[in-house]
């Protein structure tokens, strides 16, 4: 095992190790003493944004939307049956998801971890795609697509993303359309598999009351030493400005649902700097729009928003944007009010007391997360994909100064880089 490195946050009693297997696979191991639950996640850096690429033999390939997601479904199938049948013997709970920039497969269990790890690794490393089983999956995924087509929350979010970005591949639908997936063949899927599932494009994260040896011993069984393929970073051209300032759709909803997105100006950070940015943005979001903010209080008390309200930060090494979302009959007023409070922050500076409270709160919630196996492997994988370390959030949080936040807010919140999407009620 190469490049063994330990990352720790002793003040909160948490640490994990990272090493690289001879195959090029990156492995994270987090020991969680006295925990019953164990979790493992393996993830490929292959998401909906990777739609056009070159194969090893020089062939240029462009795949339909929804390909990474379709492959995710198919890797649950093997020569000897469905992965769920194997997990079922131990009672493990398994699942997978595909996002813009990755495909992740995982399980949680309380017992017989080794057997489950075998299932996870063997299915992800042994694709079994036939005309018949690819055809069979189309009906299932078509229903998944239609389910999302009727979900106003997802539609509102995605409409906003498409308004915010002009050329970025994040505009591409993760699951694709029904037509997209009906055009898929085993050959296209296998091209993607060969291109993106080589060990040096994969990461495995394990957490629980386990022995690291157990994990190490498995790796040689599934991953061979081979050519190290270095993934090139995607070249993405994206103008600074939002493509649209306002977009809308009509659906069967009881009240308009809004998503206000803010596109970040800066997307070139990695490592500790990226963790620090993440912590800064999380603090800013709570400071400006969270339940403790004057913005929330004003709109809630005026009846412009209700309890269905949330704000969050989406980031990777390819994109970075904030979202505030809720229900309102006056989305334009929500937006105007958001910018009033952003302006006020620039004019009056930061309330130091509130900043410290929010930082304390964030610290507590990260410590709580560090105590649970599944959220931890998920965070480790997510951060790794962005080029940062999960545990850095604690150190980064403590380094943040009030003036950093003002600078960050200027890069993040600008009317030219904002887009409001509204799902309006359809008249029945």
């Amino acid at each position: 095992m190469k490049e063994n490195k330990v990352f720790s946050a002793p003040q909160v009693g948490a640490e994990y190790e990272r090493f690289i297997h001879k195959s090029g696979l990156t492995v994270y191991f987090m020991k969680m003493p006295h925990k019953t639950k164990k979790a493992a996640m393996i993830s490929a850096k292959f998401g909906s944004i990777n739609y056009s690429f070159t194969m090893k033999d020089g062939r240029a390939v462009t795949v339909p939307n929804g390909t990474a997601h379709f492959l995710e479904h198919k890797l649950f199938e093997g020569k000897s049956g469905n992965a769920f049948d194997f997990y079922a013997k131990t009672g493990a709970k398994a699942n997978a998801y595909t996002s813009n920039d990755k495909t992740a497969y995982y399980f949680t269990c309380s017992d017989r971890f080794e057997e489950n790890l075998d299932v996870l690794l063997s299915f992800v490393t042994h694709p079994f795609l036939t005309e018949e089983n690819v055809e069979k999956e189309k009906g299932i995924i078509a229903q998944e697509i239609k389910m999302y087509e009727d979900e106003p929350g997802w539609q509102g979010y995605f409409t906003m993303v498409q308004g915010l970005y002009q050329q970025h591949p994040i505009r591409r639908d993760i699951a694709g359309t029904v037509e997209d997936i009906y055009s898929l063949t085993p050959e296209i899927l296998m091209d993607c598999y060969h291109r993106f599932y080589h060990p040096s494009n994969l990461i495995l994260a394990v957490a629980g009351d386990l022995d690291r040896k157990v994990v190490e011993e498995k790796l040689d069984l599934y991953f061979e030493q081979g050519e190290q393929l270095k993934e090139e970073k995607l070249e993405i051209q994206e103008p600074d400005q939002a493509g649209e300032r306002y977009v809308e759709k009509r659906m069967l909803v009881s009240k308009p649902i809004f998503h206000l997105g803010f596109k970040d100006q800066q997307t070139d950070l990695i490592g500790f700097a990226l963790s620090k940015k993440e912590a800064e943005v999380e603090i800013l979001l709570e400071y400006l729009f969270g339940k403790s903010s004057p913005f929330f209080k004003e709109l809630y008390e005026k009846g412009i928003i209700n309890g269905e309200f949330d704000c969050w930060y989406d980031l990777s090494d390819y994109f970075s944007f904030c979202v505030i979302s809720g229900e309102s009959d006056q989305p334009k007023e929500v937006e105007a009010c958001a910018f009033r409070y952003i302006e006020r922050l620039f004019e009056e500076g930061l309330d130091e007391q509130r900043f410290l409270e929010i930082r304390n709160g964030l610290y507590g919630s990260i410590v709580m997360e560090l105590d649970h196996a599944y959220p931890m492997v998920n965070r480790i994988v997510g951060n790794f994909m962005n080029g940062s370390e999960a545990i850095d959030m604690i150190g980064a949080l403590m380094e943040i100064k009030a003036e950093d936040l003002i600078e960050r807010a200027k890069k993040m919140f600008d009317a030219e880089r904002a887009c409001m999407s509204v799902i309006n009620p359809l008249q029945q």
């Binding site: 299932i140 239609k146 229900e327």
Partner: protein
């Protein structure tokens, strides 16, 4: 882990779950009333009103700041239903003092907050603040009408309310819009006083502290004069109802409501295992057949309400596949009732349930709800005792449960496309 249950006076129950392996603590206070429109509406309104502020922290922002200061502790105040009970829950989750920077005991800060919210609310002269009252009424109406936005939830709620339209179970957990409108700041306050006098109360803690501290939360509550509300189990009427609702959707939602029988009540663990085997897991009969074999859907699963002794199956399908999907769902039930499942399928279902129980040890809120539901069902068990009960279930038990399951109501939210849109 150790459990301790106390009943300091009639209708007030303390559940302690002492466990040393958490970095966090979990504390909840639950108020129980019979599920009626009045209670569901009143408790849902109170869930909104009581977290708007109290005399000491007269605003949501101030409460949020207090929580943030206390290491990002979380508070949720919710109204929900289980069987024919309506439950108002105050739930706190917080860092254990071993991990706070200066060793502060956040648990005490949460006890203090609960006391302020419930015993010193924002009220004067026997009435809540009228401006907050109007806002919370409007928010609750949004919440009730907003059930429609998630068609999966909407279809399930429609099925429940149609199947049990003459039973309390048919009442929605957030209550009734007309009753929301009828409440005012005075009548809700009167209702709140009545709730504090009448509702059964459970206080639940999971965490490291060994101190018996719950008197500090319930001080001022007198013994209850009524019994813990119960749920009426109703037998199948003998006639299956079918309701089709057309709506402009891409996907149709098929929901089936079933009544369980006596065996399910007599053998509760067999009933839970039956649900896992039939439709409650990714290797269940429904998942493997309706989804994997026939490719009819992305999801098809079953869930129980154990107090009410009913089960619901929900799936999202193409409108024209209605017959095929419904037949397969019923056919798989018949298979289980006829004992047509392998030893392996039964072992897998057991492994699934055992893993779930074991995983409770890492989840404070799951342990707390285990203590609460255990109390409601008459016996609180540790996960390992539940596991023994799972292991003891036989093939005959499963068949006995499945044979008595009766389809009662089919609710089909049928996706249709309106021309010109």
């Amino acid at each position: 882990m150790e459990l301790l249950q106390q009943m300091p006076c009639k209708g007030v129950i303390y559940n302690y779950g002492f466990a040393d392996h958490f970095k966090t603590g979990y504390l909840s206070v639950d108020f129980f009333m019979p599920l009626t429109k009045e209670n569901a509406t009143g408790m849902s309104l109170l869930a909104g009103m009581l977290c708007r502020g109290c005399k000491k922290y007269p605003g949501m922002d101030l409460i949020s700041r207090y929580l943030a200061k206390n290491y990002g502790a979380s508070l949720s105040v919710t109204a929900s239903k289980a069987g024919e009970l309506e439950i108002l829950t105050f739930a706190f989750s917080f860092l254990d003092r071993e991990y706070t920077i200066d060793g502060e005991d956040v648990r005490r800060a949460m006890i203090a907050l609960f006391r302020e919210l419930v015993f010193a609310p924002l009220a004067e002269n026997g009435a809540f603040r009228s401006d907050y009252m109007e806002q919370e009424k409007s928010n609750l109406i949004d919440k009730i009408t907003g059930i429609f936005n998630d068609k999966r939830v909407y279809a399930l709620e429609q099925c429940k309310s149609l199947m049990c339209e003459n039973e309390a179970f048919g009442i929605g957990e957030y209550g009734d819009i007309e009753l929301v409108k009828a409440y005012n700041e005075k009548s809700l306050y009167d209702y709140f006083r009545k709730l504090l006098d009448e509702a059964w109360v459970m206080v639940n803690y999971v965490g490291k502290e060994r101190e018996l501290f719950m008197d500090a939360l319930t001080e001022g509550l007198s013994p209850r004069t009524t019994e813990m509300p119960s749920t009426q189990v109703v037998e199948f009427s003998g006639k299956v109802r079918e309701i089709v609702d057309p709506l402009d959707l891409n996907q149709s939602k098929l929901t089936l409501g079933f009544r369980l029988g006596k065996a399910a009540l007599e053998k509760p663990m067999a009933c839970r295992l039956f649900n896992v085997l039939y439709g409650g897991s990714a290797t269940s009969k429904l998942f493997m057949n309706v989804r994997e074999r026939l490719s009819l859907c992305y999801y098809c699963s079953s869930r129980l309400d154990r107090l009410k002794n009913v089960m619901f199956v929900a799936s999202g399908i193409e409108a024209e596949k209605y017959e095929q999907a419904r037949n397969e769902i019923e056919h798989q039930l018949k298979n289980v009732a006829q004992g047509e499942f392998t030893q392996e399928e039964m072992d897998n279902a057991k492994a699934y349930l055992i893993d779930s129980f074991r995983s409770f040890y890492d989840n404070e809120s799951a342990l707390a709800s285990m203590m609460i539901t255990g109390t409601l069902h008459g016996k609180v068990c540790l996960p390992e005792e539940e596991i023994q009960a799972v292991q003891a279930v036989t093939r005959e038990d499963l068949v006995a449960v499945a044979r008595e399951v009766q389809l009662d109501t089919v609710y089909f939210l049928k996706g249709v496309h309106h021309e010109g849109e």
